[in-house]
Structure formats: structure tokens, C-alpha cells
Symmetry: C2
Subunit: 278 residues, 2 copies
């Protein structure tokens, strides 16, 4: 009669612990990744915004508002500012929708995971102590059987001597009774153990495994959701950036060199007057 | 007889010099702006690329290739690398198509501008020296007229004294002749000046102005072209980035929590075997 269920179960729990811990590590790694991604977006937005600010005329020269190329550049700078704003919003969305949510969720998950493994360990300890009790009861029963057998053997051999015979018979009978008690105890404990074992394997452990599996499925669901949200947040930026670039293109196309030089000629009032002398 | 055309023309040239110099400053400012824009893109691309590299598993764990969420993350990282590549290409395009071209063009423009203003100065100096010659010839003629008049006056007054009278008459006649010479000179020089002036105002200066105006129009055309190229270079990135984001979304949507836990159950072979004792 050998049983390695304990080891097997511990192995399973160890694997599950390793796997779910790896899952949480991944979740934390992914959160950190999104955080760093948001930081990059923020630093990019900051650079774009300060570039736009740097080149934006402090105080517009009177002429500047008259030339289409100055207006086009001012429009480019405004659109760039809009792009920076979009990138900042993306960073903000990544931080609030993903980083904050996943950080909170990871804490919940750690707590939940701890509970499941505590339940597992408790069930494990219970079945182990039940098994130890069974083992010790079995050893007592075997020892009592052997002693009863030996007492019977002695009693059978010294039947001739009456006084000793009577004593040996009594001892044999007592030992027989003790062995019978041990057998009864053992049967009770064995039944209890079989019942515990059945409950352990068919109710407790499957329930814990199921909860761990549900937890794992939810974790993966959340990762998928976070990845979708991340791609979606970034996708939402594109049409706005496209509109900004279209506006930059329109501004560039509105530059009219001919009109500019007419304006120039007008502002300088290049009226040529020659004077004839005498 | 007063003439401030010299000052007027100098003012016009000064204005033109200031305006075209401002135009070149703008061109250099815009080139610097695009250069800084490209640098920002390059630094953004670098950060995105190193983020992708940092989170890409060094050596893929055997399990990782089996889980859809690990595959989805790996795909996200690959797509991010593609985004970095697009941004690098944008920076490269901004640098080659705009920064290099405009830098080269600005040098050409500076040389061309210098030539036009040298021509202008030369024409200016020529008409000025012609004007000075006219002025001095006019002064000489006026002086000679006055002298002839005075000599005539003296000659008229001392008519009684014969010897002196003859001398005075001769002097008056000589002065009259000198005045007549000066008048002829003055007329010749004046005609020459009027001719020069006509050519200056109707041919030389308009031609120089036209060349400066053409130059200015080309400059503005180039700025417009650079702005269009810049917006276009950036617009070209969008569909590629969109494809990358779509691929990230597809990867996120391919995550299957249910399949993951089936894989888990299979790999742990959670076969529960209870053993009945006795």
C-alpha cells in the first residue's frame, strides 16, 4: 500500500503557483510597459509643444499677418500644437484606462490568488493529517495483531501447565480483544479517511482548481482588454492627426507667391517717376 | 530744382534688402524648425524602438509561444518596432527632402541676392556720378553766366574810357563765349543724364527689381513646396501606423482565455485518481 498523492498534489500546486505568479509578473510587466509607452508619448508631446511654442512669433510683426507663407507657417505651428495635445491625451488615456486600472486589478488578483492557495494548503494539511492518523492507526492495528498472534502461540504451547496455561489464555484473549479494538478503530479511521479523501479530490480540490482557473481566465481577459484599449486609444489619435496634417497641407497650398509680390510692390509703392530737366 | 530720387531709390533698395534678408532668415528658421522636428521624430523612434527591444523576450520560454496573450504581446512589440521604423523614415525624409534641399537652396539664394544688389548698387553709383557731373556742369554754367553778366555790366559802365572799354568789351565777350561753352556742355551732359536717367528708371532698375521679385517668388514657392512635402511625408506615415495598430488590435482580439486554461489543464494533466484502501 503506497501513495504518492501528497507529492503529486504538491507538485500540481507548485506548478499552479509558479504559473499564476508568472501570470501576475506578466501583468505587472505589461503595466510597466504601457506606463513607459505613455511616458514616451508625453515626452514626445512636450517636445512637439515646445517646438511649436519656440517658433511661434512672440509678437507678430505687422507684415507677417499679410504674407501667406507666414500665415501658413503659423497654421503649421498651431496644428503641431494640436498634435501635441492629441499625444498628451493618448498618454493620459493609457495611464488612466490601462496603467491605473491594471495596477488596481493586480492588487486584487494577488489577494485573490493568496486566498486560493491558502485554501489549497489548508485542504492539503487536513488530508495529510488524516493520512498520518490512518497510518498510525494501521501501525497500531498491525502491532496489536502481531501481539495477539504471539500470545495465542504461547497459550497454545503451554497448555499442559494449568496455572501458566490459564494466564497465557487470558493474555491471548486480552490481546485478541485489543487487536479487535484496534481493527475497529482502524476501520473507523479508514472510513473517515476515505470519506475525507473523496471530499478532498472530488469537492475541495476541484473547487479550488476551478476558482484558480476562473481567476486565470479573468486575468487573461483583462490583458486582452488592456491590449485592445491601448490599440484603440492610439487608433483614435490618427484621424485627428490626419485632420491636422490636412490643415497643414491646405495652409501650404494657400501660399501664393504672385500675390505676395503684388503686396510687396504695393507696400513699397514702386512708382517710378523720372524727371526731365530744363 | 530739387531732386530726392537718390534717397528714394536708396530707401527702396534698403527696404528690398531688409525684406529679402528677412525672407532668407525665414527660410533658415523654417529649415532649422524642420531639422528640430526631424530630431524629435528620431528621438521618439529611438525610444519606441528601445521600449520594444526591452520588453521583447531575450530567449522565448517554451510555454510563451503557446499562450495567445504572450503571442499578442510579442506581436504588439513587433508592430511598435514597425512604428519606430516609420518614424525614423519620416525623420530621414524630412532631413533629405527638406533640410538638405533648403540648406543648399538658401546658399544659392544668398549668392543670387548678392548679385542683384551688387547690380543695383552699381546702377545707383552710375546714376549718382552722372547726377554729380550734371550738378557740377550746372554750377559751372551758372557761374559762367554770372561772370559773363558781370563782365557785360562792367563793359556797359566803362564805355567812356576807350582803352579800358575795349578790354572790358573783350573780357565780356570772352566770358559770354565761356558761358555759351558751359551751356553747350551743360546741355550735352543734361541730355546724357536724361538718357541715363531714362535707362536707369525704365530699363536697369525695373530689370533688377523684376529679378529680385522673381527670386522672391521662387523663394516663397520653395517654402510652400517644403511645407507641402513636410505634411505629405508625415501623412504617408499614417496608413502604415494604422495597419500596425490594426495588427495590434487583431493580436489583442486573438487572445482566448478559455483555450488558455484548456492548455493549462492539459499540460498539468490534472487527472484526479483517488485510491480506496482495503
Amino acid at each position: 500500500m503506497s501513495c504518492n498523492w501528497g507529492t503529486e498534489l504538491w507538485d500540481q500546486f507548485d506548478n499552479l503557483e509558479k504559473h499564476t505568479s508568472w501570470g501576475i509578473d506578466f501583468l505587472e510587466k505589461y503595466t510597466k510597459f504601457v506606463k513607459e509607452r505613455a511616458d514616451i508619448e508625453l515626452s514626445y508631446a512636450k517636445q512637439i509643444r515646445s517646438l511649436s511654442k519656440k517658433y511661434h512669433p512672440k509678437r507678430s510683426r505687422e507684415d507677417e499677418s499679410r504674407y501667406t507663407w507666414c500665415l501658413a507657417f503659423a497654421s503649421t505651428l498651431r496644428q503641431l500644437n494640436e498634435v501635441a495635445f492629441q499625444r498628451e491625451e493618448l498618454a493620459e488615456n493609457l495611464n488612466t484606462q490601462i496603467v491605473c486600472e491594471l495596477t488596481r486589478y493586480t492588487q486584487e488578483l494577488k489577494t485573490e490568488r493568496k486566498t486560493h492557495f491558502q485554501d489549497g494548503r489548508r485542504a492539503q494539511q487536513h488530508i495529510e493529517s488524516s493520512w498520518k492518523q490512518l497510518e498510525s492507526s494501521k501501525r497500531r492495528f498491525e502491532r496489536d495483531c502481531k501481539e495477539a498472534e504471539r500470545a495465542q502461540h504461547i497459550s497454545d504451547r503451554i497448555d499442559l501447565d494449568k496455572t501458566d496455561g490459564e494466564k497465557a489464555r487470558q493474555t491471548a484473549q486480552q490481546k485478541q480483544q485489543a487487536a479487535e479494538e484496534s481493527r475497529k478503530d482502524y476501520v473507523t479511521i479508514l472510513n473517515q479517511f476515505n470519506q475525507d479523501q473523496h471530499q478532498h479530490y472530488h469537492t475541495l480540490v476541484p473547487a479550488i482548481y476551478q476558482r484558480i482557473q476562473d481567476m486565470e481566465e479573468r486575468r487573461i481577459e483583462r490583458i486582452g482588454e488592456a491590449m485592445r484599449l491601448s490599440a484603440e486609444a492610439e487608433r483614435k489619435v490618427l484621424p485627428v492627426v490626419k485632420r491636422s496634417l490636412d490643415a497643414m497641407m491646405d495652409a501650404a497650398e494657400s501660399i501664393q507667391p504672385r500675390m505676395v509680390s503684388l503686396l510687396l510692390a504695393e507696400s513699397w509703392s514702386l512708382v517710378i517717376c523720372t524727371r526731365e530737366f530744363i
